[in-house]
């Protein structure tokens, strides 16, 4: 009951925050001087292509870019009617990309799920690698297991992503015939899902997952290890041992549960940080995720596209935070919903 109420309440705050964020995002996008169309107009002017200018000027009116900024914002979100009535984010209209000359939803469509896919793979990788290794490193602290996992982890952390990707791609292709770049064999593109396609995607995901995941995995592993070591000395661990539990079961059931708390708090962070962290990686690896789109959009000041992508990332972050907040309360009975009573 309480938890339900809490979740609803958190959802409410999330919407509120989202609103604030949308305003901030809009402001940030419009921070650099000029906008896509005026840039384009001046570029076209200089190359003497007035056909383009016409088009740009036309778009300017169409998308209300000639109005004051606050009106543009309201129209964008959908609180105010634009030249063609209400049609903003909340009405489900994501806007128009000038750079690609298509509706934003069309451009973003595919890359959204690819983004989610890549990041999910990375998150899975992080958990699959970091959880067992972190626990193992703690249970066998100060042994070669511990040291070598630390070494490998830091190796991944200390190598710039792009360099790591390049090395993996190059040698992976050479010795294991791994594909270089991309997310699936281009021949599967647009094909319906099939086992071969899934295989191809998985095959292509290896390097990106590794590159995006290593830093996350190393970080999680080391922190988990530290937290676990703290917990391992606690008396309740002895109780569990006295019950005759196997170390594996004991470790995962008791100390891990407690040590895991800070990571639950971090779930919210994991997804968006991977999305935004993977922006740069995706750019350099040429993944068809939302990252490169965002970069192009930002550079070109393609404001609706950039705005939408940013809102999407923000929404992910907020959803993640919300989920982690609710999970935190669910997982740790000691945490009270209300604040401190004094």
């Amino acid at each position: 009951m309480q938890i339900l109420r809490y979740a609803i309440y958190r959802f409410g705050t999330m919407l509120l925050t989202l609103l604030v964020v949308s305003a901030l995002i809009f402001a940030i996008i419009n921070l650099p001087p000029g906008d896509y169309l005026s840039n384009q107009i001046s570029e076209l002017k200089s190359t003497g292509q007035s056909a383009g200018i016409a088009k740009a000027e036309f778009l300017r009116k169409e998308y209300a870019l000639d109005r004051p900024l606050w009106q543009q914002y309201l129209i964008w979100v959908g609180f105010m009617p634009g030249p063609h009535g209400f049609s903003g984010l909340i009405q489900g209209n994501f806007g128009w990309s000038f750079e690609f000359d298509r509706p934003v939803s069309e451009i973003v469509g595919d890359s959204l799920w690819l983004t989610v896919l890549v990041n999910l793979a990375a998150v899975l990788f992080v958990y699959m690698v970091a959880l067992p290794l972190g626990v193992l490193a703690a249970a066998r602290s100060r042994t070669w297991v511990d040291y070598s996992s630390a070494f490998v982890g830091y190796l991944g952390l200390a190598t710039p992503n792009f360099l790591l990707a390049l090395i993996l791609f190059y040698y992976g292709h050479r010795y294991m015939d791994l594909p270089i770049g991309g997310l699936m064999d281009p021949s599967f593109e647009g094909e319906p899902m099939s086992w071969a396609k899934v295989q191809s995607i998985l095959w292509h995901l290896i390097v990106p997952t590794f590159v995006i995941g290593t830093s996350g995995a190393a970080a999680m592993m080391q922190r988990l290890r530290a937290n676990m070591l703290d917990e391992l000395g606690k008396p309740y661990v002895e109780t569990a041992i006295a019950k005759g539990m196997s170390p594996r079961r004991m470790l995962t059931k008791y100390p891990l549960r407690v040590a895991f708390n800070p990571f639950v708090a971090d779930i919210g962070n994991l997804l968006p940080s991977m999305v935004s962290g993977s922006v740069l990686v995706s750019v350099v690896l040429g993944l068809q995720t939302i990252g490169p789109t965002l970069l192009t959009a930002l550079r070109a000041q393609d404001q609706f596209l950039a705005g939408f992508v940013l809102m999407f990332v923000a929404l992910l972050t907020l959803l993640g935070t919300m989920i982690s907040d609710v999970l935190l309360v669910l997982l740790d009975p000691r945490i009270r919903y209300e604040g401190r009573e004094t």
Binding site: K55, F58, L59, P83, D101, D110, G181
Partner: protein, 615 residues
């Protein structure tokens, strides 16, 4: 005309009757290519060529590489009719374009003068589609031409004043398309379409008006709409955002070889979009058949290594067609008035140029394979003058010091850095687009040698767009970019980029703006030499014949060489071109240039073929 042969790729469809036979497809008077005369071999049709680009929008490279233009340059950079059968010119004022009879769009619809008329009347002069009127290059002294289409294959553009640039413009790598597939676009034009259907289409496309819809469909250069027929050798077959875009041969293409085989030889081109940083790696792995874009001089060792490892490709080294691989542009419109005055002093610019050890840079960055020298035209150009290339381009610190002392910058601070007239140290901040490492490295070397002449170089890499905005705003002191895009101008090439007419010439962004905006922004040139350049460029437009134009060209180049507006460092750096081993007809030596050149365009990619018709 030679006996036409059916293309194997189409035989099946032809036999099923889905496609007319080849004789009905090619124009009545096709463009017959004499490969032997060009020193090329006859090919076998077939095969799929893979190439890589780094951005989605780069699929437009297919329009560039395909290079089917109304008029086009040949390999000697002569302007010749291409899509047009011929053109008649009267005093550069009246241009009569003759289309090929029976020429068809890639969907089989006839390509006629109606397509030109549609562009002129319903697109260029439609206030909704083109609120600011027809394209600028059609406007001469404020007047637009009269366009008439006396018959199906004739289009006449007539101006009151000469428009010497008209045909060159049509031959650009990025051409203005003065024709449109009317039969397709009319469906989206209010004037012709059924209002109800149009409204439905508008709604479906989620755009806001018919004009937006029309503009969305009408993107001949972007090349991203498979429904829009084309005249290029390959037709886009893929829609939307993809990793790999497929381009299929145009069954109605207008060129054939002298054996009667319709070009292009290659059936399909696949363009794969990969991250720029991975192109070298993929090329090394043999995953591209033809690649120039995205490869850089520094990639050569790795490409050669791939060859040595037995990958089936070879790495050709073409010469780069820009006038200078790296050039420093002191900003004569710099907002900082002290610096502006200093940089406007020709002695200072000469000294800066003299203070560069070009040979060392060539050695360190280009394996001694580039040509050190000032910014000037390349030897391939008719205007090449060794004098210009050598002007102020030898490394001579002593003379540079002398010049700077003469210029009044003779005071120095403790570490030897000269002082500006207002007492600040002479720290020249050079801004670069932080994308090219060789620029950074070259500036590193320049820093060392400039130190000897008392100039402290501070490098600042920026994002390309930011850099451009800063330059246009006059905030930068100096910047680095390539030299003139066109290093091999001909007399008919517009010398605009030599005159203070373009803000893209980073030495005078404000003057360029002033001209480009008709005085709307920027400032008028207020130095002698640039004014003269401006004059000369006007003269060029007025000049009646090539000899006069050539004369103007020479003078302008001389002025540039003398005034060192852009400090060129070296030119003709080799551009690696990766070519699959069984891809034939790719020239071993050629120039890699954007305009004129269209990269592979002037080398006629439609004549490349795979040995045995298969990859």
């Amino acid at each position: 005309a030679p006996q036409l042969k059916e293309t194997p790729y189409w035989t099946e469809r032809v036999s099923k009757g889905e496609l007319p036979p080849v004789a009905e497809r090619v124009p009545a008077e096709p463009l017959v290519v004499d490969l032997e005369a060009k020193g090329r071999t006859f090919g076998t049709p077939g095969g799929t060529l893979t190439t890589l680009v780094s951005r989605d929008r780069d699929i437009r490279m297919m329009v560039v590489y395909g290079y089917a233009r109304l008029m086009g340059y040949d390999e000697q950079y002569h302007l010749v009719p291409d899509l047009l059968a011929s053109v008649d010119i009267e005093d550069d004022k009246v241009f009569t374009l003759h289309l090929r009879k029976g020429h068809k769009w890639s969907d089989g619809a006839p390509f006629t003068s109606a397509d030109f008329a549609y562009f002129w009347e319903d697109v260029a002069n439609n206030a909704e589609l083109s609120p600011s009127g027809p394209p600028d290059f059609l406007r001469i002294e404020g007047k637009y031409p009269t366009v008439t289409t006396p018959d199906e294959t004739t289009v006449v553009y007539a101006w009151e004043a000469p428009n010497p640039l008209f045909l060159q413009t049509l031959a650009q790598a990025r051409p203005p398309f003065i024709y449109r597939p009317a039969h397709v676009l009319k469906k989206y034009h209010v004037k012709y379409a059924d209002p109800a259907e149009l409204a439905a289409e508008v709604a479906e496309a989620r755009v806001k008006s018919w004009a937006a819809l029309h503009n969305g469909v009408d993107n001949m250069y972007d090349f991203d709409n498979p429904e829009l027929p084309t005249l290029q050798p390959w037709v886009n077959k893929s829609d939307g955002k993809k990793i790999r875009h497929k381009f299929e041969r145009n069954p109605y293409y207008h060129r054939i070889d002298s054996h009667g085989v319709q070009l292009p030889y290659i059936d399909a081109v696949e363009m794969e979009i990969v991250s720029g940083g991975l192109i070298a790696a993929k090329a090394n792995a043999g995953e591209t058949d033809l690649q120039g874009r995205g490869l850089d001089f520094r990639d050569i060792p790795i490409l050669r290594k791939g060859e040595a490892d037995g990958k089936p490709y070879r790495t050709l080294l073409w010469a780069n067609g820009v006038a200078s691989q790296i050039a420093i542009y002191p900003n004569l419109n710099c907002a900082d008035s002290v610096w502006r005055d200093v940089l406007r002093d020709v002695r200072v610019r000469r000294a800066l140029s003299l203070g560069i050890d070009r040979v060392a840079i060539n050695r360190a960055l280009y394996f001694k394979m580039a040509k050190p020298g000032a910014m000037a035209v390349l030897p391939q150009s008719a205007f090449y003058d060794e004098e210009n290339t050598k002007a102020w381009a030898n490394f001579d610190a002593a003379q540079a010091n002398l010049l700077l002392d003469e210029a009044g910058l003779d005071k120095r601070q403790g570490d030897g850095t000269r002082l500006l007239p207002d007492g600040r140290p002479m720290e020249l901040i050079i801004e670069t687009a932080g994308e090219r490492q060789e620029v950074e490295n070259a500036l590193q070397i320049v820093t060392d040698t400039w130190r000897d002449i008392g100039v402290k170089l501070v490098m600042r890499p920026l994002d390309r767009d930011i850099l451009r905005n800063r330059i246009y705003a006059g905030t930068t002191m100096a910047s680095v970019w390539y030299g003139w895009d066109n290093g091999i101008p001909q007399s008919y090439t517009s010398p605009d980029f030599l005159a203070p007419r373009q803000q893209e010439f980073f030495a005078w962004p404000k003057w360029g703006q002033y001209y480009q905006t008709n005085g709307g922004s920027g400032e008028p040139p207020d130095m002698e030499a640039p004014k003269r350049l401006l004059e000369l460029s006007h003269d060029w437009e007025k000049a009646g014949d090539d000899a006069a134009r050539a004369e103007i060209w020479r003078e302008m180049l001389k002025i540039h060489a003398d005034n060192v507006f852009g400090i060129g460092i070296l030119s003709e750096a080799p551009q690696p071109i990766v070519v699959s081993n069984n891809l034939k007809n790719v020239p071993l030596q050629a120039i890699w240039a954007w305009d004129p050149g269209a990269h592979f365009g002037v080398h006629r990619m439609d004549e490349f073929y795979f040995e045995g018709g298969r990859k």
